[in-house]
Chain length 357, copies 2
Amino acid sequence: MNVNFTPGPSQLFYTVADHARVAFKENIPSISHRSKKFESIFQKATDGLKELLGVPNDYAIFFTSSATEIWEKSIQNLVENSSVHFVNGAFSNRYFEIATQLGKKALKIEAALGQDFSSIAIENYPTELIALTQNETSTGVSITNAFIQEIRTKNPEALIAVDAVSSLPYPAIDYEKVDTVFFSVQKGFGLPAGLGVWMVNPKCIAKAENLLCKGISIGSYHNIPTLLLNAKKNQTTETPNVLGIYLLSCVVEDFLRIGIKKIRQETDYKAAILYQALSTHALLKPFVTNPTAQSKTVIVADCGEHTARLSSFLAEHGLQAGDGYGALKKTQLRFANFPAHSKEQFELLVDLIGQFA
Amino acid sequence: MNVNFTPGPSQLFYTVADHARVAFKENIPSISHRSKKFESIFQKATDGLKELLGVPNDYAIFFTSSATEIWEKSIQNLVENSSVHFVNGAFSNRYFEIATQLGKKALKIEAALGQDFSSIAIENYPTELIALTQNETSTGVSITNAFIQEIRTKNPEALIAVDAVSSLPYPAIDYEKVDTVFFSVQKGFGLPAGLGVWMVNPKCIAKAENLLCKGISIGSYHNIPTLLLNAKKNQTTETPNVLGIYLLSCVVEDFLRIGIKKIRQETDYKAAILYQALSTHALLKPFVTNPTAQSKTVIVADCGEHTARLSSFLAEHGLQAGDGYGALKKTQLRFANFPAHSKEQFELLVDLIGQFA
């Protein structure tokens, strides 16, 4: 067995290599992105995503090259002056930094690493966009639907952007309460990297069009009006990662066959047994202690001085743990819990952690 | 036989499906983009490209998601106020349009479709960047090194950007005379789409840093200073199209084994027999009539009322011609002449054109 538990690029979903083989056999990487064949692949991917995730029909779905690109494009297209960022780790902080780099007045609301924002009193923020990170990949902290609901209630006007990079398809996001959600395919969808998925509602489209009318630069080929114009034809502006979109369409179909309910149940089960193993271990503990903030899809273990030894021990048994992020590299390990990681693999992981002394 | 002559996405180079099979076997799509393994792939690709194309050592090579992205990023990073664009078709015009969309004062110097710029007197242009399209994919017109040399002589200060999307690796560009060159991999390199290659010299780096110092927004994760910081470590800012970069590194190695001289000779041979067949045909003719302007890598046939019939005739024999571009769709066909297209395939194409009456 050889299992990659790093939170992205992670383990490929087990069907992907076969889908890729079929793609090359059928010359998918060679088809024109203006062909009917490509349009049908685009539509299968976007219709399938809407069905799988429960995305309302009035959302548009765009393809970019990465979620990093969506950080940039969402700020350019949705913010004239100011954005507010809930930051509790490296990735939510990068979204904030990009807003600053693009010349916006970006405000940071910070929680300590490993904490959610439950100790912070939510206000009405005088801003155009509130950026939330549904799952902070660096620390394994999730926010709840109740938290998003509270932000919405206190901020009926601002756009709410949700970075769900390392959690979808798991979380049942209430898309009616937010305005844009995005992810990248090399995490929860178990696909090769090189594709970001950007979902926007009509309020986002109107905002981008409004900025454009005001003469504000919202970028060029990947601004929302241009993305939308092409997406309506099931096309892209540029020659895209056709193979990546094809593979996504196939894996979404696989996930629909399995059913989102089963995917969520299995994710819950795998998370429960790993958190249990960490909580009851003599040498290890979960980094995130508040149960409602514990991510189900990126589980971070505080391993202290035992970090390198545990990582080696797991590697001897074919299990590759993810390093802790940044400064926490020497004292933490991260475990992705994506649909690509089977129950049996998690049971083995938990067994080995139980043996580790 | 089934050969795709559309100029991109085009025929895959014959080794690509095997390289992809190896990639999945070795879990390349699952490796971390911060790993030593990824760094070695990045370096193999960039070192190999420098050797293959004769790119000076002081150039930096960056990966983007498409050449379309490079149009945007090159304007953002290299132009504060104004750029000059030599336009003779749809793609050179889109580069111009992107500069306009980004709020720059962009000047267009136009030639008619199918013409190069030999009738235009080159001047010293009061601009920061001169944008040249080495090979206009929509019409099959190339510019010569002598033309580029003349622009450089009359414009010693301005940056010169060369869009070589649908010609590299064929043209022997004099990289000392220009400042930035870019292409995308789904054309001459016969690879799946989803990767752009951007080569910049130190003058470009200095210009971007200068704009940044002046407080001008040059974008975020893919601005030149950030790209450079990561490229120096053989890394990328974001999680990139790892599989695409891996496949590029493999095909560059294949091309080095074949040798650039042989690739250029075969391209010349294939172009010569196709232009000959078109020039001597009773019903067809080359769209570009000036021999020095005739592209060797995208050959456009003026087929008039016979267009649809010729396209069907070739398709019956397994050869897929590219449609004419835009308004010329009904009266032209385009034939890509890339390393993926063999001499035997071109000989068959020419035979069939000879039989077409």
